[in-house]
């Protein structure tokens, strides 16, 4: 940003901006994550060792990958409730079709990816062409897919894929100096996250956000809405497939693997400040939401809280997190109405800078968000798309 603005911001100003980012709903998840990680390290000092920490990342990897997939659907303005069933179906497919024959690993992996893409395609086409609400489509898909999987296995755990295939989920690159072992899950997660960041910076990724924000505008600016929306469902089903591949190795084959993943993924995404109803959000924050959620469970574990209270704490946390982002933005918007005129000129230049330097975008995130805010007050009241709270929360996360 300093390249464009005439006066270079001092270190203090940058720090202040970073601080503001961290308290803003968009950055709050990182703050929460840091606090939770410190809490874990205090409760159990060995957690801070690199080897332990990498194990933690390995455990979060499937959840984070599912959350990344769910992010694209949610930011496009829809829901995907079928992810958990897709995970289950893929786990069972891997268990039954690969068996002890390692040579089958690659063909079955390709089949699983094709199956995942197909499920996403079906979801997306029903949503876009038949205009059925995605909540209902993916709910039906969740019931049908889970029922079909259980019918196939007879409701029992069957099959055990070859060890070579399970290595993906539980093995890793050994003999690395500091961390001893670099699990494949972590590599896969890093690759998926990098791909997701790259993808959301591409024109297509930005189109998804535009579509989630206002489908009419997106259509008038030449977007093929049906294809963009369908592709988000394919992304989410594919990410569920990848998570399934990791879970086969990590958790084994069981029809209950993956159950509830859709709600965990939605929780993680919302915790990351992504607005239900679409149009606002950042994929890294969604992944951080998954980490924060898992870190929260780890804290509860170490703190000796009975596992039955886990759900209750999870429920309280997500309500508070969303309430925080909703109410903070309301108050900020209200305050800004008065000082908008004096504020606006100084805000414009960093905003222009973010478009030229992509890596600065992470730092200046609040600025363009507020900029959009100022414009939002000028345009007519938006029509809520999916959910009630949109008008309040959409203001800027």
């Amino acid at each position: 940003m300093s390249a464009v603005t005439s006066d270079r911001p001092s270190a203090g100003a940058r720090l202040a901006r970073l601080g503001r980012t961290l308290v803003s709903p968009r950055g709050a998840v990182f703050l929460l994550l840091i606090v939770l990680l410190i809490a874990i390290a205090v409760l159990n000092p060995s957690f801070a060792e690199p080897g332990q920490f990498i194990r933690f990342i390995q455990r979060v990897a499937p959840v984070a990958i599912v959350a990344i997939g769910q992010y694209f659907v949610i930011v496009g303005g829809e829901f995907d409730l079928s992810m958990g069933s897709v995970v289950t179906a893929q786990v069972v497919i891997a268990g039954n079709l690969i068996g002890q024959d390692e040579a089958k690993s690659l063909p079955v992996l390709l089949l699983m990816l094709a199956f995942g893409a197909f499920i996403g395609l079906v979801n997306g086409l029903i949503v876009t062409l038949l205009k059925v609400p995605s909540f209902i489509v993916t709910l039906g898909m969740m019931l049908a897919l889970l029922g079909g999987t259980l019918y196939w296995t007879g409701g029992a755990a069957t099959g055990n894929p070859a060890d070579g295939f399970r290595e993906i989920g539980r093995g890793g690159i050994r003999g690395i100096p500091v961390i001893d072992i670099l699990p494949w899950s972590v590599v896969v997660l890093a690759a998926v996250l990098a791909a997701a960041i790259w993808f959301s910076k591409r024109p297509f990724g930005r189109t998804i956000i535009a579509l989630g924000d206002n489908p009419t505008t997106a259509r008038f600016s030449g977007t093929r809405n049906w294809w963009v929306k369908t592709s988000t469902f394919m992304i989410s089903s594919l990410s569920a497939t990848v998570a399934g591949v990791l879970l086969v190795g990590y958790a084994g084959v069981h029809p209950s693997v993956g159950r509830g993943y859709e709600f965990i993924a939605i929780t993680a995404v919302v915790l990351g400040g992504v607005v239900l109803g679409g149009g606002r959000g950042w994929v890294v924050a969604a992944a951080a939401g998954a980490f924060a959620l898992e870190a929260l469970f780890t804290v509860l574990n170490f703190a000796g809280v009975p596992s039955t209270y886990r759900d209750a704490v999870q429920g309280a946390i997500i309500i508070l997190a969303v309430a925080y982002s909703a109410t903070t933005f309301r108050s900020r918007r209200r305050g800004r109405g008065i000082e908008a005129s004096s504020d606006a000129p100084s805000q414009t230049s960093p905003d222009a800078a973010t478009q030229t330097s992509p890596d600065a975008a992470t730092q200046t995130s609040p600025a363009p968000a507020e900029e959009r805010d100022a414009e939002a007050s000028a345009r007519p009241a938006p029509i809520p798309s999916t959910s009630r709270a949109d008008n309040e929360t959409k203001g800027g996360s």
Partner: protein
């Protein structure tokens, strides 16, 4: 449909939309009954026997209670995912307080309803005052109740006296008392929506909250009332389940999958998931469709796992049939001609209350 010219559109879409809501559900229900009767006859059983009709009506009652409340919440463009836990909690509280003594029945029912109303009030306040999306708010409160249930109850608990069990067991002819109670509640809810101020405001708030506020409606109150009523009807479902089982159970709500199934039934009944349009009687029709499909599958002894597949397909297919009649709710921002798919809809949003009356 999109070929309708702007001048003709208002009247035509108005008349078609009246056809859309409750009547289409009725037609779908009749179609499901006919297909079901044929299928049941093909295995040599009588679909219309008194016993079978009683089974269907019994199957309707619990989901019916939950779905009535869910309809109110969805009309306000919110959701309630906490219902299965409210159902479980109320069955447990009822069975524990009754403890097998008929004298405790009124007290237990009262406590259950008050507790449920408080849960609903909490939901409503979180949604309206903290501005949390209904999906997240009720998912959160549901998880909190689940944590409480899992911590304090290891299995079934309490004892329901015989007098209370009679509610779930007796019937007038082939019609079970529980179904009659459910229909009475449905009648009350329909009256509430059509004839009271708060009921009418629900449609307004669900249709467009900003417009409702600018029209001078206190937008928070209808939403809170809807959430309270939804939890109360879920509690009624829990009471009914307690009377059927004879005990309270911490998993009875989640096993029934009442959160997602009730939402599916509401949408199956022609209510828009985005709020503002729908009717109680459509919901009852949706619940009836579920009950008939389930009954036919039980009579034909379909594999229980395949039942879920059929259920999923029926939900999506049925809703696809409704929405293919162009339910693009967004009001065209520009002239009707400029927006291709929604061109036939301009009159639909102008009269959002038509469906309920």
């Amino acid at each position: 449909m999109s070929t309708a010219t702007p001048t003709r559109a208002p009247r035509r879409s108005g008349s078609r939309r009246r056809l859309d809501s409750s009547l289409i559900v009725g037609i779908a229900l009749v179609a499901v009954i006919v297909i079901g009767a044929i299928l049941v006859a093909s295995v040599g059983r009588n679909f219309f026997s008194a016993g079978n009709i009683r089974d269907i009506l019994t199957g309707m009652s619990v989901l019916g209670f939950v779905a009535i409340g869910q309809t109110l919440v969805i009309l306000c463009a919110s959701l309630d995912l906490s219902v299965p836990y409210v159902v479980s909690l109320s069955s447990l509280i009822a069975a524990d307080l009754m403890a097998g003594n008929p004298a405790n029945i009124p007290f237990a029912v009262l406590v259950v309803l008050v507790v449920a109303a408080l849960i609903g009030l909490t939901n409503g306040l979180i949604v309206t005052k903290l501005k949390v999306n209904g999906f997240i708010a009720t998912l959160g409160t549901g998880l909190i109740i689940k944590g409480y249930l899992d911590t304090n109850y290891k299995g079934t608990s309490g004892q329901v006296p015989w007098e209370f069990q009679l509610i779930g067991a007796t019937g007038v002819g082939p019609v079970p008392v529980s179904t009659l109670l459910m229909l009475a509640v449905a009648l009350g809810a329909a009256f509430f929506l059509a004839r009271t101020r708060t009921g009418n405001h629900m449609f307004a708030v669900g249709g467009n909250e900003q417009v409702a506020r600018l029209s001078g409606i206190r937008t928070a109150r209808p939403l809170i009332v809807a959430h309270v009523l939804c939890s109360v009807t879920a509690a009624l479902a829990g009471l009914l389940l307690a009377s059927r089982l004879g005990v309270g159970s911490p998993v009875v709500g989640t096993q029934g999958g009442y959160d997602l199934l009730s939402i599916a039934a509401v949408v199956l009944g022609g209510t828009l998931l985005m709020g503002g349009r729908g009717s109680i009687w459509g919901t009852i029709g949706g619940v009836a469709i579920f009950a008939v499909v389930d009954n036919v599958m039980s009579v034909m002894q379909v594999n229980p796992f395949l039942k879920d597949v059929v259920r999923g397909v029926v939900i999506v297919a049925a809703v696809a049939v409704y929405t293919s009649r162009s339910l693009d709710r967004r009001r065209p921002r520009f002239t009707a001609g400029a927006e291709p798919p929604a061109a036939a809809e301009p009159a639909a949003v102008d009269a959002p209350k038509g469906g309920a009356a």
